[in-house]
């Protein structure tokens, strides 16, 4: 974020460098049930992002002293693979950024999962970023929501989101890597369309009141498109299960 000497031009002839319109999302595809061992899983391909979400649980709590007699504990883990970025080899495991993202992702599912149905248990939600291209946290949580449903864990809604940015003074949906790095603002959010609530909300940059309001509206518009892809993924999974069963 912010200025830099080698900032590329992000808007050319009234369009984004990728050719996208200001509110267009990148290509997005989700596949549910891609792993055998996990209780639920999903792979999301969003722009160049490739993120794998896997869910285990409800299962016994580890470490035991964390057990909550009233509800299931949500354990979310967002990690970027060391080879996931265009830049140099990263360090493996969580860093400060990924610990913060894991925390806000956990809060989404503390709201979204019917945790009171499974006291004294833990649900692990793993999000591994295998290739990153901007907007990984919203993509990861979007995939995780599909993985939870794939695991058969009761949730209030399919949750999803998009990141809204500002590049060269224009507000745009679904920032890619360069737009994120060199743009003036970034507001990633995850929403529940059924309840109208924002469940993950982060922002940095510099926005006026009107711009904040516009960004929120763009988030909900983007979420509608993302939701369709989640539903498609789950439908495809169930249909394949059904045809396997018939054989």
């Amino acid at each position: 974020m912010g200025s830099s000497a080698n900032k590329p031009q992000l808007i050319v002839d009234g369009k984004r460098v990728s050719g996208r319109g200001f509110s267009d999302l990148r290509n997005l595809k989700i596949t549910a049930g891609v792993l055998k061992k996990a209780n639920g899983s999903a792979m999301i391909e969003w722009g160049k992002n490739r993120i794998l979400a896997a869910v285990y649980g409800p299962r016994e709590v580890f470490p035991k002293h964390m057990t909550d007699p009233r509800k299931a504990l949500i354990n979310a883990r967002y990690v970027m693979a060391p080879f996931s970025s265009m830049e140099e080899h990263g360090r493996s495991g969580p860093n400060r950024r990924s610990i913060e993202i894991s925390k806000v992702a956990k809060h989404v599912f503390e709201n979204n999962v019917l945790v009171h149905m499974f006291p004294k248990t833990m649900i692990n939600i793993n999000m591994d970023v295998l290739q990153s291209d901007g907007g990984t946290r919203v993509a990861a949580v979007t995939a995780a929501s599909v993985a939870l449903v794939d695991a058969g864990i009761p949730v209030r809604d399919l949750v999803q989101g998009v990141s809204i940015g500002k590049i060269e003074g224009t507000q745009v949906s679904d920032l890619d890597k360069d737009e994120d790095n060199y743009g003036e603002s970034d507001m990633p959010a995850i929403v529940s369309l059924r309840t109208g609530e924002v469940l993950l909300y982060q922002m940095d940059g510099k926005l006026t009141r009107v711009e904040v309001d516009t960004a929120l509206s763009m988030i909900f518009e983007g979420a509608k498109i993302v939701r369709e892809k989640q539903v498609e993924a789950l439908r495809a999974k169930y249909e394949s299960n059904l045809s396997e069963a018939r054989e």
């Binding site: 974020m1 912010g2 830099s4 000497a5 080698n6 580890f62 470490p63 002293h65 964390m66 057990t67 909550d68 504990l73 354990n75 979310a76 883990r77 495991g93 969580p94 400060r96 950024r97 990924s98 610990i99 913060e100 894991s102 925390k103 806000v104 956990k106 809060h107 503390e110 709201n111 603002s185 507001m187 529940s192 309840t195 109208g196 609530e197 924002v198 469940l199 993950l200 909300y201 982060q202 922002m203 940095d204 940059g205 510099k206 926005l207 006026t208 009141r209 904040v212 309001d213 929120l216 509206s217 909900f220």
Partner: protein, 281 residues
């Protein structure tokens, strides 16, 4: 596993029984439209900021929000610039939840709450371009680094707002030590910490306002007991009285679009009161 299994405060057996009692008490009050210290929902506790509390660091401040005390210490050092930003100084915020500050704080590496606090404060100041990083370039190709360490001394709730206030006040009262480059360009020059090369120039004042949601009611400047009863928090950092420069939702509660806008307005309306304490002395 390490990162995700950190202590949550709300967990652990004996802690939880006490927390449940507190939670019931606070929620009951909120339902009746009251707060334990009889404040209005959007009212802050008395705010006080002391600056230049230490001599050795280049800047320092302690922010008090009621009984909450957060200390910010600023050190200026010579640093190597990041490869993609060769002419920009380095700015870094860290935080330490000292075990002295609260019975549930434990010594050890920063946990997720501590990391979140530091990163939210960092984002606000960075996004507002409060510090002109280009002005921190040194003649020999090196740059100055501005390192802010936030020490929570006494946790009675609303640490983010107190930390943001302490950081801003400390930065507004930070001196830049004199730098003399070495004759050998490969070697780092020397900082003369007792000789001042002027004050750190702050372009924009940033404050943070955090709102906790308890039983559907939103309150500002929550105490630690109110935080135990809270379902979630929205922090909004405001620069220059009108811009949102950082925001962070934490906790399970969701916030509707209109609620976020209302809290944006509430944060803007608190700006003058908070910023007055952060400004230069």
């Amino acid at each position: 596993m390490k990162a995700t299994c950190q202590k949550q405060g709300n967990n652990g057996d004996e802690k939880m029984i006490l927390n449940n009692v507190k939670e019931a008490y606070i929620t009951d009050l909120i339902r009746k439209g009251k707060r334990a210290d009889s404040r209005a929902p959007m009212e802050y506790r008395p705010i006080e900021v002391e600056t230049n509390v230490f001599e050795n660091c280049e800047g320092s401040a302690i922010a008090h929000l009621g009984d909450t005390k957060v200390l910010a210490g600023v050190k200026i050092d010579v640093a190597e610039p990041f490869s993609d930003r060769p002419n920009e100084g380095v700015f870094m915020v860290n935080s330490e939840f000292t075990p002295s500050a609260h019975p549930q704080f434990e010594a050890g590496p920063p946990n997720e709450r501590s990391i979140e606090l530091a990163r939210v404060v960092d984002r606000g100041i960075r996004a507002a371009n409060s510090i002109d990083l280009n002005a921190l370039a040194l003649p020999d190709g090196r740059v100055l680094g501005v390192f802010v360490d936030l020490y929570v001394l006494d946790h009675s709730g609303n640490l983010i707002d107190a930390a943001a206030l302490a950081a801003m006040a400390a930065l507004n009262n930070t001196r830049i030590p004199k730098y003399e480059p070495s004759s050998d360009e490969k070697k780092r020059g020397k900082l003369f910490r007792t000789e001042s090369a002027g004050q750190l120039d702050i372009k924009s004042n940033v404050i943070a306002c955090s709102f906790e949601k308890i039983e559907g009611t939103t309150i500002a400047d929550a105490t630690d007991e109110e935080e135990v009863a809270s379902n979630g928090r929205l922090t909004i950092a405001i620069a220059d009285g009108e811009y949102m420069v950082a925001s962070q939702k934490s906790g399970a509660a969701g916030f509707k679009r209109q609620e976020i806008m209302n809290l944006f307005d509430a944060a803007v309306s608190k700006y003058a009161e908070l910023a007055a304490h952060a400004k230069k002395r």
